[in-house]
Amino acid sequence: MSDLRSDDDRVLDERGDDTVEAELEALTGAGQLRQSSLWGDAWRKLRRSPLFIFGAVISMVLVLMSLFPQLFTRTDPRACDLSKSRQGPSAEAWFGYDVQGCDYYANVIYGARNSITIGFTVVIGSIIIGVVLGALSGYYGGGLDTVITRLTDIMFGLPTILGAIVILTVLNQSLGRTVWTVSLALVVLGWMVPLRLLRSSVISVKGADYVSAARAMGSRSRRIIARHVLPNSTGPVLVYATIAVGSYIGAEATLSYLGIGLQLPEYSWGLQINSGQRWVRDAPHLVLFPGILLSITVLSFIIMGDALRDALDPKNR
């Protein structure tokens, strides 16, 4: 999954700095100097980044679409008329009709829910595992760290899609094919990246003076981790999470496309593309619309993550 890798690329231009300074000066002039935190700065930058706004608006629309698909379409996606099978887009059916003669626009809209659910579930699940194990492993070191690191290495060796196919073959036969089995398979293969992020940032902070000071003042390990160590890694984890939501949405679609993820009658863009590809000659819209929506969804999360990384990068301050 190459899109999961972090690069420290900076898309933002440097134009923002002058305006921020001017703003600060105005504030000082008024007699109230605001301290600017990393997050405050980042937020100010993000609000000015057109890319971030684009990504945020699209992803919010998609989340809304997955919660209340009725807001976007009044048509029942299951109300079908076989005589309209594979008709192209028209004024009454914007995306045309599918093989069964169902309104394709409604079907594609309803597909957002499973994608968004899986994207968020996998990211939340793998971050919980990664943060807990990464913090323990980085903070305590020793034998525990060795075991966790070795396990991470082993899991990293497994190819993601291939591993997910094998895990899903096992899960599908015992638990059925649901949003939760697909999520579980992807969590099993996805916790290593947040773990490594956490572990390295914990190790880099562990020796810092303020951590020693907290310890000297009698703070317990748990408090030190929660108050001093974890907040330091919030930034990278948040950037990772935003991009990963997009990547996992893509992964779900891929698995469903391969016939190993979700199955009918679930709505899934991957499934729609899979069943539409047979008719690509005379009904290209069957592949086109779910493909476009899927790509835009992934794109919006990746753009947001990119913008977030630039905004949080101290080199840009």
Partner: protein, 307 residues
Amino acid sequence: MGRYIARRALLAVPVLLGASFLIFALVYAIPGDPIRALAGDRPLPAAVQAQLRDDYNLNDPLLVQYGKYVLALTQGDFGTDFSGRPVRDTIEQRLPITARLAVVAIIFEAIFGLTAGIVAGLRRGSFLDSLVLVSTTIAVSIPVFVLGFIAQVTFGLNLGWFPIAGINQGWYSYILPGLVLAAASTAYVARLTRTSLAENLRNDYVRTAKAKGLKKRTIIGKHTLRNSLIPVVTFLGADFGALMAGAIVTEGVFNIPGLGRAVFDAIGRQEGAVVVGIVTLFVLVFIIFNLLVDVLYAALDPRIRYE
């Protein structure tokens, strides 16, 4: 250096064993009886079933089965599938196909990724730079199977420039799948080159070279580029292993009979030996290329010494 390589190679052994055991255990956990599935509608006589079960070690507990498997593996024996064909034959037949696909992809990655990255890195903020940034973001966002499908329909079906599927036209039939497989990594190479080049151009030695009156072309070609390409070259090396394992989707879309297809079909038939053998091979390739990259890193960057 020798000691470093030996240590890394030794560390790779538990990773390889662990990963193959995980897959082995997973395949073992797939419910259903492969021998009965093999027989189809007419059940085999009990004696034949027992014999087959014994031949494939299916009566042993998981760990014993795995132990026997690894022992055979160390002697180059990948086991046989249920039709009696050695898995090694399948691998020998299909490995070149997947490797060829990965080689084509790596070449595209290097050519397009480097060109785009260098152009963007040298002229930051220009129109071309923005174009590279936008197109790399898009390339990363389109899932491989969608991209493959678009390419197939546009260049195969409508324009007729490339074969739609299969590998009947030699290297030529690998071009389109190779491009599709390379897309996401190409975007990554372009961004990596751009960042690395832009960072290197800000270094003191570039200013010194400029002050000495060297031509811009010499500064970039002789000094900056060489330094900036170190992370890119190492990424390309490591990516080769990832591409081979990641080819499963591309092979599916373009109907290429490579290793990925073989695993995919084998999972459906519960052919444990084929699945475990090929996945272990993928992990091995992945580990070897990562090891090579670490060594390459030390060779390219004199600041890094592992002694």
